[in-house]
Structures are given as structure tokens and as C-alpha cells.
């Protein structure tokens, strides 16, 4: 960490590119995207190496979860705020996307109403609620994907941080937030489709959602969003603001005393994180084809935290690894033994906590440190490493 502090590359947004971990992460991610694309497009379907549209879709879902996990790691790992309600921002981003996709259906719905989505016709509504206006325009909807979760985080965070609510109390409030939203979104009167949510999507900016090409496109878009989100988070944590965040995490009063307005820094990072979560939700919805209030459920938000813990907190790439590993395991387990999944998740969590307290990423770091120590005990290397540190 200290090496980046004193590095001469100084523009905050490009700073991550000079980091080895970011280079490796981006390299692996881009290689994975290219490989999946290649195996999907270039390998014929009867070949065992062919990656089918279903799998591409599944990977796209994992990547959106990975972006969500990065968002959670940003606030939990670096700011020390254990948010048990990040599913709310994810779901709101998802709903913003869902509203756009609903408006795209146009008059092709079951009831054939030119403007109103099916569920509104079913509820005998005669006009669009005010907050549904504008969602027929892609730019507006995509802006809302970021702005709506951002605004909620801004208001919620402003109140929470200003009152200096921290620790478990904050976690409980975030949990209450997502639970309250879940109950609200379950109600038909809210105008978000009640417990059925929004579904039957047809196309996104003119592309048929059911075509393989669109699925591949969404998968790649999610991969790019993950890369950009990762770079943004890395840029934040390697900046001085990132170090202020870590300082806040470890000694909030002391940081305030140095003259930093801690609550504003917390608010800034929290809002950025919520917007990334919203973006993840917006990429998730067209790939799974539905958004309903279950995304607001407290269990889901806790699961996100588990992904981050399993992957390794405060590394960002650990969050990505954790999200993909756990969800991959979930896919397999729910296929083989659907009832055992929660037990398996619990067992995974216990095992990691006991044997890998710093998560999978902690294992990498440990191996790296051991390798370095082996090198320094070697007399030839000792000389060069001293020179390097001087």
C-alpha cells in the first residue's frame, strides 16, 4: 500500500493501472470474457467445449453479483460500514431497469394497452403513476439506475452519518431499510407490480432479450461494468480519500480530529457504493428476466456480505472471487440437493472463518508473503531486495 502512496503516477483515476493486483485482475477478467465469447461463438454446439447461451447468461449473472460484492466491499472493507441492506440499492437499480424494459413492451402486452404495463391494466388503473414517466426513454432510465439508489443512499446516509450512527446499529438500520422497502414493494398500490414484480421483458434498446446475441452482449456489458467499477473502487481506495476511509474505519474520532469531516467521507463512499450496486442490479435484471421484491429480502443482503467475507474483505478482488465462487456453488448445489444449499453455505462460511480468516484473498497474500520470505532468506536475493527497499 505504501508503494502506491509514493508512486509518481499521480492522476487518481489512472493510479490503479500501475498496481500489479489491478493489472492481474483486469487481465484475468478480460481473458475470461474473451474465452467465453470465443467458446460460445466459434466452437460448434456439438463440441463439448461449447459454452451455451444458458451458461453465458449464468456467467453474466455471476458478474453482476461480483459488481455488487465489490460495492459492498468498498463500504465494508475500506470504510468499516457493514451494510446489511445493499440488496436494496441493487433492487432499486434493478427496478429502474425493469421499468424501462416494461415500457419497451409497448402494446405487445397481454392486454395490448399502448402505455400501461399489464399489471396496471389488471389493477384497473387508467393512467401511469407519475414516477413511471420518462422510463420509456433509455437515457432517462439508465440515469435513474444510478441516481435512484444514489439518492436513497444520500438521504439515508446523511441522516445516519450525521447522527454518528455506527457499528452494529448502522447494520441493523440498513437491514431495516431493505426490509421496509421489501414490504412496501410487495404492495400493489406502490405501482411496482406487487409481489409479481416486473417481468415479460422483450427487448432492450432495440435488441431482442431472448436472442443469444443479446445475452452475450449483456454478459460482455456486465464484464465491462465490473472492470470499470473495479477500477473506480481501486482508484478511490488508493487515493488519499481511500486512506482517510481506512483511518475512519479504524479510529473514527481520531480522523475527525485531524480535520476530516468524517460523515461526509462516509456519505461519499456510501453513495458511490450504492450507485455501483444499482448498476449491478440493472445489469442483472435483463439477464434473469424478472425483478420482484424478493431482491429486497434481508437474507439476500446478508448473503452478499457472506460472499465478501468468503472472498476476503478489503481487497476488492476477493469480493469478486467470493461472489463467483459462492454463486457457482449455489448453482451446483441447488441443482443436486436443493434443500442442502443453506447448510452448504453455512458450512462454507464456518470453514473459511476457521481456516481462512482473511478469505480466499488472504490465502493469496499469505502465499505471496511466504514466497517473498523464502527469497529474502536466500543470500543473493537479500542484497537485491534491500536495494529495492532503499
Amino acid at each position: 500500500m505504501s508503494l502506491t502512496t509514493e508512486s509518481s503516477t499521480n492522476f487518481w483515476l489512472t493510479r490503479p493501472f500501475s498496481e500489479r493486483s489491478t493489472q492481474i485482475f483486469l487481465g484475468v477478467l478480460l481473458a475470461a470474457l474473451a474465452l467465453v465469447t470465443l467458446l460460445h461463438v466459434a466452437v460448434p454446439p456439438d463440441n463439448p467445449l461449447h459454452v451455451g447461451a444458458y451458461t453465458v447468461n449464468l456467467f453474466g449473472k455471476y458478474l453482476s453479483y461480483a459488481l455488487l460484492a465489490v460495492a459492498v466491499d468498498l463500504v465494508w472493507g475500506y470504510l468499516g460500514i457493514l451494510s446489511l441492506g445493499h440488496g436494496a440499492f441493487f433492487a432499486i437499480g434493478g427496478y429502474a431497469m425493469g421499468m424501462y424494459l416494461m415500457r419497451q413492451i409497448g402494446d405487445r402486452g397481454t392486454y395490448g394497452h399502448p402505455v400501461l404495463p399489464d399489471f396496471m391494466v389488471f389493477l384497473n388503473w387508467d393512467s401511469l403513476p407519475w414516477f413511471w414517466h420518462g422510463f420509456d426513454m433509455a437515457w432517462f432510465a439508465f440515469a435513474m439506475v444510478l441516481l435512484a439508489p444514489g439518492l436513497l443512499a444520500l438521504v439515508f446516509g446523511f441522516l445516519a452519518f450525521r447522527s454518528r450512527v455506527t457499528g452494529v446499529y448502522l447494520s441493523i438500520i440498513t437491514q431495516a431499510l431493505t426490509f421496509a422497502l421489501m414490504l412496501a414493494f410487495f404492495r400493489n398500490e406502490m405501482g411496482f407490480g406487487g409481489n409479481n414484480g416486473l417481468t415479460d421483458f422483450r427487448e432492450i434498446v432495440g435488441f431482442d432479450l431472448r436472442s443469444d446475441a443479446t445475452r452475450l452482449g449483456l454478459f460482455l456489458a456486465t464484464g465491462v461494468a465490473l472492470a470499470l467499477g473495479y477500477i473506480l473502487c481501486r482508484a478511490i481506495v488508493t487515493s488519499k480519500l481511500g486512506r482517510v476511509s481506512v483511518a475512519t474505519r479504524d479510529a473514527e474520532a481520531r480522523t475527525r480530529f485531524l480535520g476530516y469531516r468524517v460523515e461526509r467521507f462516509q456519505l461519499f463512499v456510501f453513495v458511490v457504493s450504492a450507485m455501483l450496486a444499482g448498476l449491478a442490479g440493472a445489469l442483472y435484471v435483463p439477464q434473469v428476466g424478472i425483478i420482484n421484491p424478493s431482491e429486497f429480502s434481508p437474507i439476500f443482503s446478508i448473503e452478499i456480505v457472506l460472499w465478501v467475507a468468503l472472498g476476503g474483505r478489503a481487497t476488492l478482488y476477493g469480493a469478486v472471487i467470493g461472489a463467483i465462487l459462492v454463486n457457482y456453488a449455489k448453482t451446483i448445489f441447488t441443482g443436486v440437493m436443493p434443500d442442502a444449499w443453506l447448510f452448504a453455505l453455512g458450512a462454507m462460511f464456518v470453514l473459511v472463518t476457521v481456516f481462512l480468516p482473511k478469505g480466499v484473498a488472504g490465502l493469496f497474500r499469505y502465499l505471496k508473503r511466504r514466497k517473498r520470505e523464502e527469497q529474502t532468506t536466500d543470500p543473493d536475493h537479500q542484497h537485491t531486495s534491500k536495494e529495492a527497499s532503499a
Binding site: M1, S2, L3, T5, E6, S7, S8, N10, F11, W12, I236, S239, K240, L241, R243, V244, V246, A247, R249, D250, A251, A253, R254, T255, R256, F257, L258, G259, Y260, R261, R264, F265, F268, S389
Partner: protein, 278 residues
Amino acid sequence: MSFLQSLTQRDRVFDFMAPQASPVDVRHGPILYMEDVTVSFDGFKAINNLNLTINDGELRCIIGPNGAGKTTMMDIITGKTRPTSGSVWFGSRHNLLHMNEPDIASLGIGRKFQKPTVFEALSVFENLELAMAADKRIFPTLTARMTGEIKDRIDDVLETIGLTALRHQPAGILSHGQKQWLEIGMLLMQRPRLLLVDEPVAGMTEQEMERTAELLTGLAGKQSVVVVEHDMGFVRSIARQVTVLHQGSVLAEGTMDQVSSDPKVIEVYLGADDEEAA
């Protein structure tokens, strides 16, 4: 109308155009001026009609038995505790009672806490970087660059506190004494006008104490330093002016020799100390 007028005052509208130099005005006397300050917690007067002035560049030691109000006094100066009555001025321009903690800190009052609190996950260098006097709003912090000038300044302070060799180590691995020095270094990075140092040598070895004494006496003159300390040997080794607090007010003030021969002081404090030593 007044809004329009405020827009024409360009240096007021844009914070970054305001002069960066410390605006503390000490032309008309002391840097810190406390008058008739009283703090009561549910009727108990932790501070009782306290009057204290610290001159610019002075090194002042504050001593007093437990519960004399030393820590509360520091809390008042730094804005953590609001007095029930009285006035506290920093220079002749700033009424500290109208300011909050971050504002007071950025005005140039630095405080070292009794228990060293450094950011353990960050390196020694990064600890100093965060403490540096700089624009501490969000976006300037996000886009802050590490310039040669800043690096030199941090190197200077590392030199002063004797932690140059440990610059890249996480602060968590430092010894107790080293953490105390790092804290003092963090204060120095803020270019404070007034340093409040709470029990700097508690738990230190003899050598560490000597090193700390050198450090603090070296700082006086450039900064005003107020040291609260229990260790009489240490106070004797650094003090020029000593203030004795007792039950929330000043009992005696003067050189170490003057106060230690004051019968009132001997009764409440030094006497007790001698008994302990005996």
C-alpha cells in the same frame, strides 16, 4: 441583494481563494486565553473559574492531581466539551466556543491524546500524510497528488521524530514509545500553532523519555506547546513555566522551583507525590 453582494466578494464565495496562512492573530498578546471558564457535569464542577493564558511560542507544563480538570481543560480548548460559562479565545480573533472540532483542528490546535491512537493499518508515512495540513474536503482529498514538496515535508517530520527507517511499516507494529512519537509527528504535520500534549511519557522507558523531552523542547519557540504530565522528573526536565491545577482552577503558576516551594502546592500535590516516592 445581500446574496448578490456576497457573490461579488470573490474570496469569500470560493473557499480555495481564501488565504491559506494561519489567520490566528497574536499581535495583541497571548495565543490562548481562557477566562472564568466553568464546566459542570450535573452540578459537579470539573472546571471552576479557570483562568489561563499561554503566550506564543511558550512551552507550558500543566500538572495537578487526578481529577484536577486537566483533560477537561483540553476538551474545552479542542471543542469536545462546551463550558457552562466563560470564554476561550485563540489569538485575539477566534472565539473557540463558537467553533466545532474539525474547524478548531484546522485553525491550528493539535492535540495528542493520552493513549496513542495512530492508524494501525496504514504505514507510518501514510499516517503523517493524512495528518498533513491540506484541503480536507472530499474532492481535493480524492484527487490529492503526492508531490515532491509533500514528500520532503513528511521526510522532515520523520527525521524529527526519528522514525525514518520505519516509514513503510504499518503503524500497528510500532512500540508504545514510537507510537507516541508518531502521534507527535502527526501533530507537527498539521503545522499547528498550539500543541496540546496529554501525558506524553506515560509508560515510556528512560531513554524514550529523554528522547521525548528533546523533541518537545525542540518544538517550543516554533509552536506553543502545552504539556499535561504526571511525571515530575519529566516536567522538571522540560518545563520553563508550570501551572498547577487543583479542583478545576489554577492553584499556582511560575517556574518549577517557584511552584515546588509553594506551600499550597506541596500540600495538594507535591506532598502527596513525595509520600508516594518515599
